[in-house]
């Protein structure tokens, strides 16, 4: 069997032997000689004035080395972010606290328990103040969250993106005219897309060590964007980028929550430099809930105006999006990602108005899907409600309103964006043609005939990912505050060593996505070097070129493409060397199974070992050829990528208890070309489960004073193995034309398509009871209550 792999093959993951034997290295596993431990004192109030901090007792306790407050770190400035719209976060609360869990003081001690005990002995006096918690209240500006800001509304995103005032006004008039027509129906629902806790199973962790002789900071962090962490630490502490050695080893899940530079990632290295000792901080689960970013948090009203024949004349979404107290990495840009996909795969006039408001709650930022699950949720829920209202099959209504294939290439979405490629009708039809889909409907009808409540839900979805084009810098997405200004391009470096092995060094690093495997496949396919001779490394700023990291389903589409191009350059050079050694034409050289072969001459070949050995002996190379065998590529696509798909599921609902059971789940996804189907399916599985989690269980509940009531896993139920079904996955393949691999990205698709699929199914089940909508999460009590309310 060949050990090289073409794209499109299942290869068992190369990262797994370490991870199944307990030998993989995560940040909390890092131990350094004399290492100290940090703990934080965190605010119990959502909004309060700090009147005094008494750390005398803490400082006198065993093992305590230092207690730091805002007075010690004010000179470092605020937390660097990427999109500086809103209030910057102080590294430690300075005079006031703006959300529960905000860090007020940092304690460093010899052991973790000593640090925690001392943190408990730091006495902070607070004057509690009223907190702005409700989103409509925040948007009203009744009370401002930050004195220095003009309004709690930080920005309002609208569609069509970039349209002038005249165009916007024209759209408003067009929608009003559609509503005035006699033959139209207007269907409207106010819906909540609740706040969530990302909840990677690995808590965030950071270790830092300063070497004063080398003037070098070594830093381990569980981060999705280690280059930015290195840049930010360097910028704040005044250390050049090449003297910050930042490492993200195994990252135990990210989902967007590790796509930030956090105060601890600055303060721990700062303390390490102050104290001349390595310092570690690992958040506990409660801290992960209150001080790591949260996701979602929209309330909005979606409205469709359309004919009784299923022609949608206008779609509107008017929403308030909760940004929380401080703006971090992307914060206000997250709803903007919803604007990108605001009109989904459809062609109808679309007007979104998303008010991004600040509140006295923890900051929101990217959580798997990031703005796109919210936007698609509203769109696909209201498409379902509209179809129900006019008595048409929702699949037929969707089919009728898709952007037609004739508009590709060059299709523009009504939201105002150019789409790379799409074939929406074929994808939806593939779902409708599946026996699984008919079986689900038949089973629903059978259950109903037995007097049970059952429903089938359907949703299509559109995603935008693979960021992206270098020109995004023009939209304000630069890395400037992190000290490493970089567009959203990808980078890859391929080096063939003198023994014929290859190193592939990439800037983006995984948190479970299997980059070692996928990148080995890409480079093996390009060069013919055998998979087991390729070593992929990432997450180490000493070795890797600057890259913005792993998020937004971008790694394969952007950094993968860069590695593909770098490997192509290596292959071109190797072909010249092989042609020289084999006395053949360069055009006839073919790489396969670890060797170069001459087309048409089966006896003529030379191994990669020989080619590599020769490459490092310049006197043996063709005249004028530079020695060595490596190439670096920076890849900037011309557009983002736009995956899409269809999901369907069958549910039953217990009419006595409101308990929802998922009986079957079927997808037809289209993420363009597929490199490793096993890994791609795995991404979909996990994404769907997170959407199920939002639809059925998860809810970051704050009380009226801004206290998070769900800061532990017992109060924040995530799906278990017993709560979810097996997933039946299918694909259509519509390659993108914006990268040479044809891949679009798949990390978030499962999450973007799933929550409303499930809610649509439950509403289908409850329709006979008169229920038109139930807000997520669909916990039994809420479903039961919806049935009672509809009956009364």
């Amino acid at each position: 069997m060949s050990t090289t792999s073409a794209l499109g093959g299942v290869v068992r993951r190369r990262e797994d032997p370490a991870l199944v034997t307990g030998t993989g290295l995560y940040v909390d596993d890092v131990k350094r000689t004399g290492m100290l431990h940090a703990a934080f004192v965190r605010s119990p109030y959502a909004h309060a004035r700090i009147t005094s901090i008494d750390a005398d007792e803490a400082r006198s306790m065993d093992g305590v080395k230092a207690v730091y407050t805002a007075d010690d770190v004010r000179h470092l400035g605020s937390l660097p972010v990427q999109v500086p719209v809103g209030q910057a976060r102080p590294l430690l609360a300075d005079g006031t606290v703006k959300h529960m869990g905000e860090a007020v003081a940092m304690v460093v001690a010899a052991t973790r328990t000593q640090a925690q005990d001392a943190a408990d002995a730091v006495f902070v006096d607070y004057d509690a103040l009223e907190a702005v918690v409700d989103l409509k209240d925040a948007a009203s500006d009744r009370m401002k969250v930050h004195d220095g800001l003009d309004s709690n509304i930080l920005v309002t995103w609208t569609t069509p993106f970039g349209a002038d005032d005249e165009t916007q006004a024209g759209l408003v008039d067009q929608i009003a005219a559609a509503k005035d027509r006699d033959d139209t129906v207007v269907v409207s629902l106010e819906m909540n897309n609740q706040r969530l806790l990302p909840t990677a199973i690995e808590p965030r962790s950071v270790v830092a060590e300063w070497n004063s002789g080398y003037e070098e900071m070594t830093l381990w962090s569980s981060s999705q964007m280690i280059s930015a962490v290195a840049g930010a630490v360097g910028k704040v502490l005044g250390i050049p980028y090449n003297h910050v050695h930042a490492i993200a080893p195994e990252v135990g899940g990210g989902f967007g929550a590790k796509l930030n530079v956090y105060p601890d990632e600055i303060l721990v290295p700062w303390a390490a430099k102050q104290l001349g000792k390595a310092v570690k901080y690992t958040e506990n689960r409660r801290e992960a809930a209150v001080s790591t970013i949260q996701g979602r948090g929209w309330i909005g009203t979606a409205t469709i105006t359309g004919t009784r024949e299923g022609e949608v004349l206008a779609y509107e979404l008017d929403a308030i999006c909760d940004m929380g107290a401080y703006s971090q990495n992307f914060t206000v840009a997250i709803p903007f990602l919803g604007v990108f996909v605001g009109s989904g795969q459809y062609k109808f006039p679309t007007r979104l108005k998303l008010d991004c408001v600040t509140t006295h709650l923890q900051t929101t930022d990217a959580y798997r899907g990031a703005g796109r699950p919210e936007a698609i949720y509203y769109l696909e829920r209201i498409m379902d409600a509209y179809s129900r209202e006019i008595g048409m099959d929702s699949a037929a209504v969707r089919m009728k309103n898709f952007i037609p294939n004739e508009e590709f290439p060059g299709a523009m979405s009504p939201a105002g964006f150019a789409i790379d490629t799409g074939d929406y009708g074929t994808n939806l039809q593939a779902m409708l043609d599946l026996p699984e889909y008919s079986e689900m409907k038949a089973e629903r009808d059978r259950l109903r005939s037995e007097g049970k409540l059952a429903g089938v839900g359907l949703s299509t979805y559109m995603e935008v990912c693979g960021f992206g084009p270098s020109g995004l810098v023009d939209l304000g997405f630069s890395w400037a505050e992190y000290g490493v200004p970089s567009a959203f391009n990808g980078s890859g470096l391929v080096r063939v060593n003198p023994d014929g092995t290859a190193n592939v060094i990439i800037g983006t690093g995984p948190s479970g996505q299997g980059h070692k495997t996928t990148w080995s496949q890409i480079v093996s396919q390009q060069t013919g070097i055998e998979m087991d001779k390729i070593k992929v490394t990432y997450g180490d700023t000493k070795e890797a070129p600057v890259s913005i990291g792993s998020f937004g389903s971008r790694s394969a589409a952007v950094d993968g493409a860069a590695a593909f191009e770098a490997a192509g350059k290596v292959r071109e050079k190797a072909a010249k060397v092989a042609a020289h050694l084999l006395e053949a034409s360069e055009d006839d050289i073919r790489f396969e199974d670890g060797a170069a072969h001459v087309a048409g001459s089966p006896d003529k070949s030379i191994s990669w070992e020989e080619i590599a050995k020769t490459a490092y002996q310049p006197h043996l190379l063709p005249e004028g050829m530079e020695g060595g065998m490596e190439a670096h590529a920076i890849f900037s696509p011309t557009n983002a990528t736009w995956p899409f798909g269809t999901m369907a599921c069958l549910v039953s609902v217990d009419s006595d208890t409101g308990d929802v059971k998922i009986l079957r789940w079927v997808n037809v996804d289209d993420c363009g070309e597929v490199i490793n189907p096993m890994i791609v399916d795995g991404q979909i599985h996990g994404g769907v489960a997170q959407g199920i989690g939002q639809a059925l269980f998860e809810d970051a509940i704050y009380d009226g004073d801004g206290n998070l009531l769900t800061a532990g896993l017992i109060d924040y139920p995530m799906p278990t193995a017993a709560d979810v079904p097996s997933y039946e996955l299918h694909r259509t393949v519509t390659p993108t034309d914006v990268n040479p691999l044809g891949v679009k990205g798949v990390g978030e698709a499962g999450t973007i398509g799933s929550a409303q699929t499930l809610v649509n199914a439950v509403v289908d089940a409850l329709a006979e009871k008169g229920v038109k909508h139930v807000d997520m999460p669909l916990r039994p009590k809420r479903v039961w209550q919806a049935m009672q309310d509809a009956q009364n």
Partner: protein, 164 residues
Amino acid sequence: MSLTVNGESVSADVEPRTLLVHFIRENLDLTGTHVGCETSYCGACTVLVDGKSVKSCTMLAVQAAGATVTTIEGLAEGDEMHALQEGFWERHGLQCGYCTPGMIMSAAGLLAENPSPTEDDIRHGIEGNLCRCTGYHNIVKAIDYAASKLRGETPAPAEWEVNA
């Protein structure tokens, strides 16, 4: 206190409040056992204590005095992977790998009690272990693979054809 960990006798003085998971990670440097919540909910710290799966953050280290503890590092015999480790690899039962050691040890406890679990048995058997990456689909298949192998049977075929 003295106990046996992965076949070796271990003696140590520990603070009474030390949790077993911290003893395993900090005192014994066996960092394959992970901490996810310290509240006995996520299961990332699951080990075998006298053959039964236990969340090691739910026990004080001193409660394990005299016991036989097996962690992920001690599951395989020699260089060959245990059937569960092999199953997780073969059936893509892991992504980030953080919950994996606990998940595997929990599955080891399950298979010790029930060598022929149904899909439903597996799903309920690992209900106490949270995974945020996989959606559990392939974890269930991985455990089924291992159960078949341990019974001396050929595992059900994968959902895909493996090239390498």
